[in-house]
């Protein structure tokens, strides 16, 4: 039984490596194909992303668009298709990780190749942000690292407005 498990684990590992090979091979500077960074995690043991990879490559925008309206207008906050979770898994949280304007960013790597301009990150965070106290929402592990927006001093309010009335 144990042998069988080890064997299957080995097969799984070799499959993963093989699957990774073409990507890393194409990542060479002389290749015309985009170098898409590896995800940080897997959705499940059998599936890399929240839907089969081929489906995600073709239709990820449909899932994100649908989720966007569900969340903003109806308050549905499931995590499976949320943009925040895409970023959490596909973008490194290292301080020097590439930003969306850089072609090495997960989204930009393919979008600049396909010449499709996206404006998601004019408003949305383009890399994982660990917000103190917000981990129940974002699914993050609590951390002492304050996001850049918080480390900057929140601005002081307009000098108190005074209204006089008779």
């Amino acid at each position: 039984m144990r042998n069988l498990m080890q064997k299957s684990l080995r097969i799984l590992l070799s499959l993963t490596v093989m699957a990774g090979l073409p990507a890393s091979a194409s990542a060479g500077s002389d290749s015309l194909l985009p170098a898409v960074p590896e995800a940080q995690d897997r959705y499940s043991a059998t599936q890399g992303c929240v839907e089969p990879t081929a489906e995600m490559r073709r239709n990820h925008m449909e899932y994100i668009l649908h989720q966007r309206d569900e969340t903003v207008h109806r308050g549905i906050r499931t995590k499976q298709y949320s943009l925040e979770q895409c970023i959490n898994c596909h973008v490194s949280d290292a301080p020097d990780a590439p930003r969306y304007k850089n072609d090495e960013h997960f989204c930009s790597s393919c979008h600049s190749y396909a010449a499709v301009r996206i404006d998601c990150f004019q408003c949305h965070a383009d890399r994982p942000v660990k917000t103190p106290g917000m981990n129940s929402l974002s699914g993050h592990v609590e951390s002492d690292n304050k996001p850049a927006a918080l480390s900057a001093e929140p601005h002081q309010a307009l000098a108190t407005e005074v209204i006089s009335h008779d």
Binding site: R68, E70, V72, H73, R74, G75, I76, R77, T78, K79, E84, I87, R99, Q122, C123, H124, A125, V129, T131, M134, S136, L137, S138, P147, A148, A149, L150, A152, E153, P154, H155, Q156, A157, L158, A159, T160, E161, V162, I163, S164, H165, D166
Partner: protein
């Protein structure tokens, strides 16, 4: 002796009965509250059974205290650009002064989350909208930055983002060219928490702000609204605001 024994028996019975009655009282509302306080599942849409509201007691609101404002700025990553005239402001402190008596009052002013919001009426794209549970929001995906809503709002509650932003927080996406305002901390409310300003006010023991469901007669806010007189700012406009004030 026999009389004494009888008295003890009666006393015991009486005390025992009272204790049972008290236990019944405390358990029943407790169970009831637990059922009401259950959070809405993440995959369920908001409904109009709930209407979120806020009650602000200006008598408890301290002059010069800015805790609600700083909490809001920090919660949503509102950083200034040194231009107070155009820097985003979702909640601000307003001082009122009676010219005749010199009496001053201080109160926080934020989006009033009207039942009939003028910002929604005038929005040409449908970006300004009211959620089923009464929270008035801007869908920034649809907002074209025309700022009609800013003109229409009688409370000057909305801000426009003039600058490119970076490092926004995941729960508070904001970007150049769109209008924004208080969201009643919708990301917290959807997670069964209270808005950041209310939390900060309570943490400082001012307790000037109460947040809750004004459709639920048993909520703290409904009880307080029933018990005390409160006012809407510019009630003459018949907007039926979700934010009410005491002491003005």
């Amino acid at each position: 002796m026999t009389d004494n024994a009888n008295i003890d028996t009666y006393r015991r019975r009486f005390l025992g009965g009272t204790a049972t009655a008290l236990a019944g009282l405390s358990v029943a509302p407790g169970v009831f509250l637990h059922e009401v306080a259950q959070a809405r599942p993440a995959d369920e849409a908001v409904t109009s059974e709930v209407r979120w509201g806020m009650l602000i007691d200006t008598n408890k609101c301290a002059n010069g205290c800015n805790d609600c404002v700083s909490a809001c700025n920090e919660e949503h990553g509102l950083t200034g650009h040194g231009r107070p005239e155009t820097d985003a402001q979702w909640i601000r402190k307003v001082d009122l002064r009676d010219k005749q008596t010199g009496h001053t009052q201080s109160l926080p002013l934020l989006c009033q989350h009207c039942e009939h919001p003028p910002c929604v009426d005038v929005c040409p794209t449908g970006a300004s909208f009211k959620r089923a549970d009464g929270i008035v929001l801007v869908d920034k995906h649809i907002c074209i930055g025309c700022r009609y809503c800013m003109m229409a709002c009688p409370y000057k509650a909305r801000s426009f983002i003039h600058e490119d932003l970076q490092d926004q927080l995941p729960h508070a996406p904001r970007g150049k060219g769109t209008v924004e305002s208080c969201t009643f901390c919708v990301h917290r409310v959807d997670n069964d928490r209270t808005p950041a300003c209310v939390e900060a006010c309570t943490a400082e023991n001012h307790n000037a702000m109460v947040f809750g469901d004004i459709n639920d007669p048993d909520s703290d806010i409904s009880k307080q609204l029933r018990q005390h007189s409160s006012r809407q700012i510019r009630a003459d406009l018949n907007l039926n605001t979700g934010v009410r004030y005491r002491g003005i």
